[in-house]
């Protein structure tokens, strides 16, 4: 999400050369903490503010406001020759935590599963762990199987999934390409299987998607309001596509 904010800030500063927008990374928690302590004007977050954080902000005399500025859908991809094209969240959790080791167990070919994951510094890695792997809770927190290959970029996952017929990986849906096949995901076996597209992510039907949010301390005014208006404008929303997220409008 840092890339997205950076792209917005750069485009906006071209139009408003007198205002300087500084973007800093560090994760959603770091941003919200900085907002509450008053060291930034806007916090970008890929999760909603917790009750604790809201209470803390109120204690500081703030009334935090939330904007849904973009959406992110995480696609699960396999090699195009793989016949397994539908998975439930629970199956995904078993797959990535190493309990399902052969594609045969999911109705595919007899081949050992090759897991592709992002490195732990990736927000996508953390999101996948907290929202997909957490579906199984039998003994302690679910972890990625230690055998999972941790690749340094989404592009590396796309490349490996394109060349390895037994691979399964995940990445922000902007990386989807004809050499990878996206798996349709269902929340439970009773729910419909949904493919990741801009429409299904926007409607909330696709199960592994999340809103990207902006928080301000109180009702925005001046340059902050102008920046938010730009983010929500057609031009600002178009920038979202260039960094592989889904516009809200």
């Amino acid at each position: 999400m840092v890339n997205l904010c950076q792209a917005w800030a750069e485009a906006w500063m071209v139009q408003h050369p007198k205002v300087n927008v500084a973007v800093t990374g560090g994760g959603s928690g770091a941003g919200l903490a900085a907002l509450i302590s008053g060291t930034c004007d806007l916090a970008a977050s890929s999760r909603t503010m917790s009750q604790k954080e809201i209470a803390l902000a109120r204690a500081h005399g703030q009334e935090p406001q939330e904007w849904k500025v973009a959406l992110d859908g995480i696609a699960v991809v396999v090699h195009p020759s793989n016949s397994v094209r539908q998975l439930t969240i629970e199956q995904l959790a078993h797959l990535f935590s190493g309990k399902i080791r052969n594609w045969k167990e999911l109705g595919g070919e007899h081949a050992q599963v090759v897991l592709l994951s992002r490195e732990v510094n990736s927000g996508t890695h953390v999101y996948f762990k907290e929202h997909v792997l957490s579906a199984i809770k039998d003994n302690g927190p679910a972890e990625f199987a230690p055998e999972a290959l941790l690749l340094p970029s989404s592009q590396a996952i796309a490349d490996e999934a394109a060349s390895n017929s037994a691979a399964v990986g995940y990445y922000g849906m902007g990386y989807l390409n004809p050499k990878n096949a996206a798996v349709a995901i269902a929340k439970t076996p009773a729910d419909p299987y949904i493919s990741p597209t801009e429409e299904t992510v926007r409607s909330g039907a696709y199960p592994i998607s999340r809103p990207l949010l902006f928080y301000s301390r109180s009702a925005p005014h001046g340059a902050i309001k102008a920046f938010l208006d730009f983010v929500m404008s057609p031009e600002g929303q178009e920038i979202i596509r260039t960094v592989d997220f889904v516009p809200v409008r």
């Binding site: 290959l149 390895n164 037994a166």
Partner: protein, 289 residues
């Protein structure tokens, strides 16, 4: 009078420059220690060095660095096994057999190999070598320790070849002539006289080659798959210490256990490199006497 002052000034400046690198090394080491040892306030040393699970961002986190140390060792050992015979043979050829222009061409070629940026080698490994290894050994994935070893062997070769060649060149001419005069063939002369005479230099070359390989990061991160499991064969993905630091440092929160753990890995790496360099120095020293 003026002359003396000037000379003294220049002398001191040169001495200070000489000291500078040592001071920098000491400062780096102290910084590593300060940041790395902080980990052991919360994580016992045995859990760190002996643990077999690396889950730095889980709740609770696991900082078992054993798979990473073994990963580095397997990749490095593989690279050395592949690089050393080829490098020594190539140094022998360059220094003893190749004549005039061939010698120059080979030397330049090997220096060029050292000039290829490691990312480029990593990219080649990913795009060409990994699919080939996957096909050859019928593996689930081509991103394995062996792939890393082959790429690293290419990186270690220039170091090993040039130092070995220097060591061979330093063997007195009389040794060769005496051996040949006693009726030895050229191969007998090389294998029984030259190589033993140049042994300390060759050992130093190998040590420096290992040092070059164990610290390499980018190419290894691209081709070894980075799975933190204790390696059971070279045809399996592994995660090295260097790749772990490079991949995770960017997002580790300053002052967190994860941040300290990465510095602690740095201490382990530093200690290994230091021992290797000291060993190489010892061998080179032996040669001089």
């Amino acid at each position: 009078m003026w002359q003396r002052w000037r000379e003294r000034f220049i002398e001191k400046t040169i001495a200070a420059s000489g000291m500078f690198s040592i001071i920098v090394v000491i400062l780096i080491f102290l910084f590593l220690l300060k940041e790395g040892l902080a980990l052991f306030r919360t994580v016992p040393m045995t859990d760190f060095l002996g643990g077999d699970r690396w889950y730095p961002i889980s709740e609770p986190p696991r900082f078992g660095v054993l798979p990473l140390i073994l990963g580095s060792c397997v990749v490095t050992l593989g690279a050395i096994v592949l690089a050393v015979p080829v490098s020594i043979a190539s140094a022998l050829f360059i220094s003893e057999i190749a004549a005039g222009w061939a010698k120059d061409a080979l030397k330049t070629g090997i220096e060029l190999l050292a000039a290829i940026p490691s990312v480029v080698l990593g990219f080649l490994g990913m795009a060409v070598l990994a699919p080939w290894i996957k096909y050859l050994f019928q593996l689930p994935t081509g991103l394995t320790a062996l792939t890393g070893s082959i790429i690293l062997a290419l990186m270690a070769m220039p170091t090993i070849v040039s130092i070995t060649e220097d060591a061979l060149a330093a063997v007195p001419r009389g040794y060769r002539e005496a051996a040949l005069a006693l009726g030895a063939t050229r191969w007998q002369m090389m294998s029984r006289v030259l190589l033993p005479a140049a042994r300390p230099g060759i050992l130093a070359a190998v040590m420096l080659g290992i040092g070059r390989v164990i610290g390499e990061t980018m190419a290894v991160m691209m081709v070894t798959g980075n799975a933190a499991v204790i390696p059971r064969s070279v045809l399996q993905p592994v995660r090295t210490m260097t790749a772990t630091i490079a991949a995770e440092m960017g997002e580790a929160v300053r002052g967190s256990d994860h941040y300290f753990a990465l510095f602690a890995i740095g201490i382990v790496l530093f200690a290994i490199s230091f021992l290797l360099n000291a060993a190489a120095d010892l061998f080179l020293h032996q040669e001089r006497h």
